[in-house]
């Protein structure tokens, strides 16, 4: 009985070792595909071995990619509100890694047609699921790392408001007031878009929509700084002292 169990156990063990080794080299080149073509010319067994090896390596690399994304995601310092979003994304990455494990188990017993079907399935699954998830994780990372910019811009706006109010005590400053009003609108618009991006993550909206909101929020913030520069120029002409 024990001897009957040995081959499958050995297969599982060797399979995990091979998978780990396969993930060691995740730079896949066109010459790897050339090797499969060359093996096909040597016979079916050689082609099958080459296909299994490259498919195992490719799926193992896909899993390593998901693991790397999850490590980066968990390394982000986020507020309590954002931990929910991060946990959702991390769970979905776990699902992806489980899927890759299931597909890897199939490769060992597959023939040439089987490896082609597995490759087709994994390719389609990535197109429908994983690539969107990876894009959303990249968006979330970008969004988290942008949050300090919004806090800095708000603090900057408050300081500029106090300067304009002080200068207006000496007389009306129409240009300053106009630029300040524009900056206030732009900072508020940026914050609104930023909140919309947060909600987009919570609602799992498509990554391109989330990214568009992030881009719009950052663009509004950049425009607000242009107004700050305009205010700076006016203040320097009004005051003889260097700010």
């Amino acid at each position: 009985m024990f001897f009957l169990l040995l081959p499958p156990l050995a297969g599982i063990f060797l399979g995990s070792v091979n998978t780990a080794r396969a993930a060691d080299n995740c730079i896949i080149t066109s010459s790897d595909l050339d090797a499969v073509t060359a093996a096909a010319a040597q016979g079916l067994m050689a082609e099958l071995a080459a296909r299994r090896a490259l498919l195992t390596r490719t799926i193992a690399c896909a899993k390593a990619e998901a693991q790397s994304l999850q490590n980066n995601l968990n390394g982000l310092s986020v507020s309590d509100d954002e931990k929910t979003i991060r946990a959702q994304l991390s769970d979905r990455l776990n699902d992806a890694m489980n899927y890759y494990d299931l597909e890897l188990e199939k490769v060992g017993g597959a023939g040439i047609t089987g490896t082609q079907i597995i490759a087709k399935e994994v390719f389609a699954w990535r197109g429908n699921n994983y690539n969107f998830l990876a894009a959303q994780v990249a968006n979330f990372t970008l969004w988290v790392k942008s949050q300090n910019l919004f806090e800095t811009a708000l603090a900057r706006l408050r300081s500029v408001e106090s300067i304009v109010s002080f200068l207006e005590q000496a007389g009306a400053q129409n240009e300053l007031r106009s630029n300040l009003a524009s900056a206030q609108v732009l900072v508020q618009a940026a914050r609104n878009k930023n909140d919309s991006a947060r909600n987009a993550f919570l609602q799992s909206l498509p990554p391109d929509q989330t990214l568009a909101l992030i881009q719009q929020s950052l663009q509004s913030l950049s425009d607000a700084y242009q107004k700050f520069f305009d205010i700076s120029t006016v203040v320097q002409t009004l005051l003889p002292i260097k700010p």
Binding site: S30, L33, V36, T58, I117, A119, N131, I163, Y225, S232
Partner: protein, 158 residues
Amino acid sequence: MNLFQILKQFKNIEPDPAFKETSRRAILAYRPVAPTTHLWSAQRTLWRIIETGAAVALTGFFVLLITGAFSGSRFVPVQYSAVDPQSLHAEAQAIDIQIQLANVTYAESAVESTVQTAGGKLLGNPKKASSTALSAARGTTEATSTITIDQALQGLSQ
């Protein structure tokens, strides 16, 4: 008479009998101070409450002052460094970098979509031989020898 004899005579010194009698009466007639009245106690308590309150308020004020809670107040001098072009430039540059990163993320998504579309075309033609499909997958990356995971899967599916 030497000094020692003079000091001995000091023992015989006595007060004037009339002064002694007056002093005794004054001492016997002394009445202890009346116990504290309620009104006086209330005043003192009120005063101590005011003292404690003022001390707490003053401490709180200094704590807020140190922690910068009045940074937006009109009582704090205006900080002209807020319109310093150099610091403004540094912050604006940080935003521009994030915008560029967002555009890079967008470009990567666009590339992935292109690869998926190309894959769809290849998979849609089952008559193509394996070698042709592999060459086609390879052909999309002629500029660089490295291929993506999707491209490898695309090639292996044929």
